[in-house]
Point group: C2
Chain length 452, copies 2
Amino acid sequence: MAKNIASISGFPEWLPAERLVELQVLDTLRETFELHGFSSLETRAVEPVSQLLRKGETSKEIYLLSRLQDSNLDIDRQMSKGKRLGLHFDLTVPFARFVNENAGHLVFPFKRYQIQKVWRGERPQDGRFREFIQADIDVVGQGELAFHHEVELALVMGEALSKLGLPAVTIRVNNRKIVQGICEGAGIEQVEDALRCLDKLDKIGADQVREELESVGIRAEQADVLLKMAQISGSKSESIVSAVTALGYQSELLDEGLAELRAMLEEGERRAPGLLVADLKIARGLDYYTGTVYESFIEGHEDLGSICSGGRYDNLIGDGKKKYPGVGLSIGVSRVLSRIMAANLLVPSRPVPTVVYVAVNDEEHRGESNAIAAALRARGISTDVADKAAKFGKQIKAADRRGIPFVWFPGDVDEVKDIRSGEQVVADCHTWEPPQQDLKVQVLAPPLDVEG
Amino acid sequence: MAKNIASISGFPEWLPAERLVELQVLDTLRETFELHGFSSLETRAVEPVSQLLRKGETSKEIYLLSRLQDSNLDIDRQMSKGKRLGLHFDLTVPFARFVNENAGHLVFPFKRYQIQKVWRGERPQDGRFREFIQADIDVVGQGELAFHHEVELALVMGEALSKLGLPAVTIRVNNRKIVQGICEGAGIEQVEDALRCLDKLDKIGADQVREELESVGIRAEQADVLLKMAQISGSKSESIVSAVTALGYQSELLDEGLAELRAMLEEGERRAPGLLVADLKIARGLDYYTGTVYESFIEGHEDLGSICSGGRYDNLIGDGKKKYPGVGLSIGVSRVLSRIMAANLLVPSRPVPTVVYVAVNDEEHRGESNAIAAALRARGISTDVADKAAKFGKQIKAADRRGIPFVWFPGDVDEVKDIRSGEQVVADCHTWEPPQQDLKVQVLAPPLDVEG
């Protein structure tokens, strides 16, 4: 299968066969989210720059808009008022804005999914694009949000990802309350700095993290505690709890975090064994998380990085008076797709939606072929009619070149040929059915190569 | 139903219930296009400004992109090289670029559909947005493209629009070869100017069109001919042909155009009676059309303007050496949707995807409710679990506020209540099925008001 064919770096496009894989992935996500009662939402692609710049750290990645006929003065004026528009770089910021604006029209807890393109002006790399699709689910409460939604979100995403037909996905979870509790216990005040440093553990290793921790004023024995904590991981709640307890700190916050992490693991083990693993080095870059944080990895493709991340946020949405605590998880769909295509993890059973190609005997009888096509389509069978009344051999070749499995020959008695097997049978367009596996394009993992 | 809730003028957003209507419309279009063998394509949202400015007339409507950290010098440099990026304002320009770039990977005639957002910086008005969805189908040949595809496209769009459940849609067709043939015959050299003036006929009336025609150097008796031609309309091919013939001109081009228009009407009458009407004032603003041109109107909503337009283009796509003649039609989905919502033309049977709300007896037994939900979902029934183990009355109210029709009560023997009728029955989560019309949200025209 051809790779993505971006003619502008960072803006991937797919050929029709690969687009079928993308559609199947998006459909599966949507179906799973709807099965769990999540409502679809789509927000505009743009936000005022003032909204986008609320989180300073991503400011560099924003694409700003201007109209061709705007003067520099117009643009400066919009900019200074924070009214200039930019393309959204994630779906969380627009969702937070949407909830604030429309809370009166929503029923809480509000569960929504959102599958849209986002844009970031960063340097394109393998699996990192400037335009890409994210698929988010969030649950947001009004004033409060029960912890069980933090478990629910991981399980919904686990189910959605498992239905894609990819190698197994593991969701690694941590809880900010634990990190914060340990920091409090160890007298570390630079919690955000600590998180930022720990986030790099896999990339730069313990020694360099220790250096960075010390460079922000965290003492050597404090760094020891953090690095010890960051080594704790596993799926057995008992051993996680005892390993954390063994660090020797205690506080209400730490207890709460540990109880939540334990509940998360135990509920995960009951409902989706093997999906959840505690990993206390999971930090997440964003500072608005207040409870569970998640990162997810595809078995054998850990080099891709986390393909589905998020967390609990208590203070992100709100207008000062009201608070809307939430929890969200976001799949980097384009990143997953780029690997699916490059490594042939999923392939479509054919490159077009079409099942049947109706031959045309001669141009005067094109109407008969059109009528047959209409009858097949009326029963949900995707059908195309030959472009030209060429010799039948040529028409069969035209179907074959497109990857359409069946050619229909109109006559006194119609016949249909499976051009893969060569089998040709008498058929009636009002009753004939293709084999079930041919009706719709199937997107599946390719058969394993047989070793010679 | 609430109207669109744009907090930035021209960038519409929908609440979850309305989003269900939008999804249904988009799904129906997609299904119909795929039934007819059109492949899905999605192009990036951006194109180089040089590509976007190929058609000068729309230049003012383009949104240009810049990155927050770009210097003015960077921007000027990109601009002068034509490499600056802008958001696409339609799906035809990106499709033409895609075909040119990837012709080697495509099989011709290539049939694709494309449903995406586009952006225009124009002043927002009723039904005109700055961000909106278009749904396009095109067929493109290599070197040549048979006329029957011009008929096919109208019929596919007619079928797609009829399946939406809206009032009847009429597609009004004309043929550029007729207009051009008449202009040749009458010695009018300003064909493009003539088209531009005729395009305004409905808006400004015959007298003003005559003035405008004369202002571009078209003589009074020539203007008479054009205005006489523009009055010809109807669905009977015989009378159209004789009315055009009565204008008193003849040429190969005119004959060809008339033969095509006649074939279009006759084939339309056979396959979709009432769908196609010839209307010789249909001009279309774009100068790249070379054969059939289309505009479409919803009965009783003609004030919306054309909701689906397009035409045959022979010279739009190509790299100098190769030519890719095509024909395309584009639905202004957001414009149609804004009317659907405002006039309540379609409403969803409920505001959420969810069929069943499983009650929770107490927090200790949430697991049982989760297990019931999992069993229902495994059989495709969208299910949510109560947020809180409140009194049953409160849990029923929570389902009702969401518009979820069934509440499930776990027990030694489970029961399920249809909260619309109040009927409650014993049920097993491994076998119970909701009524077919409740399984998925249905989006339908609301029942007519009964006159008192």
